[in-house]
Symmetry: C3
Subunit: 351 residues, 3 copies
C-alpha cells in the first residue's frame, strides 16, 4: 500500500544512494545497489515490490520473512530473515532510519510564504521570512513570529507571544502569554497560555480569581497534541523542556516544570506546581497530583494516580500508584483471594 | 414543559395520524383518535395536557401513572398504567418511536443552502447541491463536500477531504486526511485526521516524527463528540464503522479500527492499533492500551483499564480490567478484609 | 520576580493606602506606613524589595522568614515570623487579600468597546454598551449580549443565546442553546450547549438521535475551563450554580444540575442527569456515573469513580468509590497482603 497521493505529496521514486544519505547513520551496500530505485515506503506486511520497509528489532520477524518489499532496513541480527529478492539495508536504528526515509518520500507539506489577506495582524507584530499565515489567523499586537513558521487557519496568537524559527500552529490552536523556541508544534485545537485554575474563596463562599501572572515557556521542538491544554504559571512560569511531546487531550496545570524529552500520552494530566525531571513518561490517562517531584526517567503506567514524589527511574502503577512490582503483587493477591472466596463473595454481592 | 421556542423551531401542533406515520412501526388506534391534535413532546413528569410522552419499559411506571400527557407511547405490558384521559399508544419500541415523533415537532434546524461570503473555498473544491457553508469556514483545495451538508461557522476542512451527503460539521470542528460517508457529524471542536502520536528517539535522545501516512475513514452515520480527537493512521487507516458514536473528549489513536455501532462514552480512550469489533461499548473514562483486539459486543466499564485482548460479549471492569464478576468478587473481598482488620489497618495508616 | 510587562499591564507603583482599600477587610497599620509605596506583587521566595507578598497560614513559614518582600500579608499567628525590614500587614484572609491586591497592580486587560469589522452579527442580535466583539467572532440571530462583555477572537455565540453583564468568551469558545448570568467566563475552546449524547437503537442496530430539547443555564460567575464541555439538556436544562468553576477538559453531560460553588478539577466528568449539591468538589480525573445525587459539600478524590449516591459532606476515594477511610484501610490491607505473600505472588506473576 502506498500513501494516498491525494493527501500526501510524493517525492519519488528515489535512488537508493539518495535514500542512504538521509538515514542519519552509515549503511553499507554494494556500489551496484546504489542505483536501485525505490518508489515509496510501507510497513512489512503491506509493502509492494519496489517499496522500502523496516523491521524494528526482533518484533515482526514473521512479517519480515514474508515481506514483498524491495528493500528493508534491519539490524544485523535480523539480516538472515530478509527474504530473497529483497535488499537488506543493515543499520543500527531501523525505525529511526525509516522515519527519515519516509520523510524523504513524503516531505511535510509547506504552504507558501505569505500572509493570507483575511489574517488579522496586530500593530507591531513581526512575521519572519518565509512564514505562512493562513486564512483567518489572528496575530496579537507585538507578537514576534520567527522565520519559516506555519500559522494554520484560525490559529490565534496572543499579544507579545514569541515563536522561534520553524514553529507550526495547526488549525484552531491558540497560544497566549508564551515564549517558544524553535520547531514548536501545536496540533489542532491545542490551548497554550490560558489562565490557570487558581482562586481563593471569600468568607461568603464566592471564589476570587488569583491573578495568574506567569508565562508558558516551550523549549525547542516541544509538541502539544490536539485539544491538549497547558496553563500559564500563576507567578513563576510553566516550562516544558526541549523535545517534550504531549499527546491529544493532555492537561498541564500552572507552574508545572518538566525536563527535556518527557512524553505524556493521551488524556494524562499533571496538576499544578508539579516538577518532572528529564525523560519522564506518563502513559494514557495517568494523573499526577500537585506539588510533586518526579525523578528523571520515571515511567508512570496507564491510569496510574501518583500522590507522592517518585524517585528517578521508578516504574509506577495503580491508583494510588505504587512501584510496579508491588502493584502487580497486590493485584495477584487480590485475584487469588477472590478466587478462593467465591462463596463468601457471593454473600457480599447481595448487599 | 415545552421546548424553548427561542432555541428550538416548532412544527406543530400535529394530528395524531401524522405522528403515527413517523413512528417507524404500526400503532393501532381508533379512527376517531386519528384526529387528536398534540402540541408537543415532553417527559412523563413534565408533560402537560395535549403533549406526547413515552414510557420506556417498566422504568418510570410511577411517573406514567401520574402523567398529565395527552398521549403516551407505551409497550403492551404498561398499557394498564396509563392514566384516564391519556391516550395509550401501544408500540414495541416507545423510546425509538418517541425520538421520531420529537423530531417531527422539532425538526433539526437546516441553515439555507449557499456559501457565506466570508467562507474561503480552495481551488478545485466541490460543494454539493443544497449544502450550507457558514461564516469563516475554510475548505481546502480539492475537497469534495457532498449535497445537503452543513459546514458550521469556523469549521476547517483540509485539502482533499471527502464528505458524503448530509454531513454536519459544527462550529470550530476540523477534519483533514479523511474520507467520510453519508450523515457523518462532527460536534463543536472535534478533531479528525491530525497527525498521530508516533516518533522514534535518536541515540542522543531527540524524537523524530514518524511520518503519519494513513487516513481516517468515517463510515455512514459516524458521530464525533465535542472536542473529541481521532488521529489518522500511521500507514494503514484509522477506521470507524457505520453508526459508531463518540461522546465528548474521547481519544482514538492512529490505526485504530472499530466495527459498526460502537459507543465510546465521554473521556474514554483507545490507544494506537487496537481493533474493536461490532457494537463494542466503552463507558466513561475507560481506556484501552494499544495493539489489542476487543471482540464483538464487549462492554468495558467506567474507568476500566484494558491491557489484554477481550473476547466477544465479555463484560470487563477494573484497572487493570478483569471479567466483571471476578472484579466484583475481588472488590467485595477487599472491603471485607478492610472491615475485619481495622486495628491492623490503623497501624498501616501511621506509616 | 515581577510579572512580565510584555504580557501583563502594570498599574503601579501603588501607595499602601490604596492597596489597603482593595483588600476587602480592615488592616491596621501606622499612619506613617500609609505612604509606603509598593512596586508589585510576588510569592515570598521571589519577592524583591518594594514588592508585596503573602503567607497563607502556617504553610511557607520558612519562606516567610527569609522573604525580601517590602510588605507581607499574614495572619496574626504568623506576625512574629515576618523578617525585619518587611512590613507585616495582618489580615484574616491573606491569600484572598493578596489576590485583590494583585489585581490592583495587574488589572485584567480590557479590550476597547466596539465590534471588530470582521465580526459577523446575526439579524436582531443585541450587543450591550461597552462590550468588545473581537475579530472573526460570530454572533447568531437574536442573541443578547450584555454590557461590558468581551467576546474573544473566533468565539461563536449561537442563535438566541443570552449573556449577562461582564461575561468573557475567550478565543475559539462556542456556546449555543444557553442562558447565562453575569460574569460568566468561557476559557479558550470551551464548548457549551451542544447536543448531548442521547440516542436509541433501532431493532436493526442503527442509532437514532433523541432530540435534545433542553438548554444550558450558567448562573452568575460560572467559569468553564479550556476545551471543557457542557452539553445542553435532553428535556430539562443542564444547570451550573453560581460561581461554579470547571477546570480544563472537564465533561458535564446533559441534564446535570449542580449547586453553587462546585469545583470540578481537570479531566473530571459528570454523566447525564446526575445532581450535585452546593460546594461539591471533584478532584482531577474523577468520574460520576449518571442519575446520581451527590450531597452538599461532598469531596470526590482524584480518579475516584462514583457509582452510587453520596451523602452530604462525605469524602470519597477509589474506583469504585468508597468512603475515604474505608478506601485507605482497604489499600493498606492490600499492600500488607502483597508484602506478606511475595512467594505466593511470584507464582501468580508467572501465569
Amino acid at each position: 500500500m502506498a500513501a494516498d497521493p491525494r493527501f500526501f505529496p510524493q517525492a519519488g521514486p528515489q535512488r537508493l544512494e539518495t535514500i542512504l544519505a538521509t538515514l542519519g547513520e552509515p549503511c553499507d551496500v554494494t556500489v551496484a545497489a546504489l542505483d536501485l530505485v525505490l518508489t515509496g515506503v510501507a510497513p512489512l506486511a503491506e509493502a509492494e515490490r519496489g517499496q522500502l520497509s523496516y523491521c524494528d528489532g526482533a518484533r515482526n520477524l514473521a512479517a519480515l520473512r514474508r515481506t514483498a518489499a524491495g528493500a528493508v532496513l534491519v539490524q544485523e541480527a535480523q539480516r538472515g530473515a530478509v527474504p530473497e529478492g529483497c535488499l537488506a539495508l543493515v543499520v543500527r536504528h531501523p525505525a529511526l532510519a525509516f522515519s527519515r526515509a519516509a520523510a524523504l518520500f513524503h516531505p511535510p507539506p509547506r504552504p507558501p510564504a505569505g500572509i493570507h489577506p483575511t489574517a488579522v495582524i496586530g500593530a507591531g507584530a513581526e512575521i519572519g521570512a518565509g512564514t505562512h499565515v493562513g486564512p483567518y489567523a489572528v496575530i496579537g499586537e507585538g507578537a514576534r513570529i520567527g522565520p519559516a513558521c506555519v500559522i494554520g487557519p484560525h490559529a490565534v496568537v496572543g499579544e507579545g507571544v514569541v515563536l522561534g524559527e520553524g514553529c507550526r500552529l495547526h488549525a484552531h490552536s491558540s497560544i497566549s502569554h508564551a515564549i517558544c523556541g524553535r520547531g514548536v508544534v501545536l496540533h489542532p485545537g491545542a490551548r497554550v497560555g490560558q489562565e490557570g485554575f487558581g482562586f481563593v474563596p471569600t468568607p461568603e463562599g464566592r471564589f476570587v480569581t488569583m491573578p495568574q501572572l506567569g508565562l508558558v515557556r516551550l523549549e525547542d521542538g516541544v509538541e502539544i497534541g490536539a485539544n491538549a491544554c497547558v496553563d500559564r504559571g500563576s507567578h513563576a512560569d510553566t516550562v516544558l523542556g526541549a523535545g517534550t511531546r504531549l499527546d491529544n487531550l493532555v492537561q498541564v496545570g500552572h507552574n508545572v516544570r518538566m525536563g527535556p524529552g518527557c512524553v505524556l500520552v493521551s488524556q494524562s494530566g499533571v496538576s499544578g506546581s508539579t516538577t518532572l525531571g528529564r525523560y519522564v513518561t506518563l502513559a494514557g490517562q495517568a494523573g499526577l497530583t500537585g506539588h510533586l517531584t518526579i525523578g528523571d526517567g520515571a515511567r508512570i503506567g496507564a491510569q496510574a494516580g501518583v500522590m507522592r514524589d517518585v524517585p528517578a527511574g521508578a516504574d509506577m502503577l495503580g491508583s494510588p500508584a505504587m512501584p510496579a512490582k508491588e502493584a502487580m503483587r497486590a493485584m495477584t493477591m487480590m485475584r487469588r483471594l477472590a478466587a478462593q472466596n467465591r462463596a463468601a463473595a457471593k454473600d457480599g454481592e447481595k448487599e
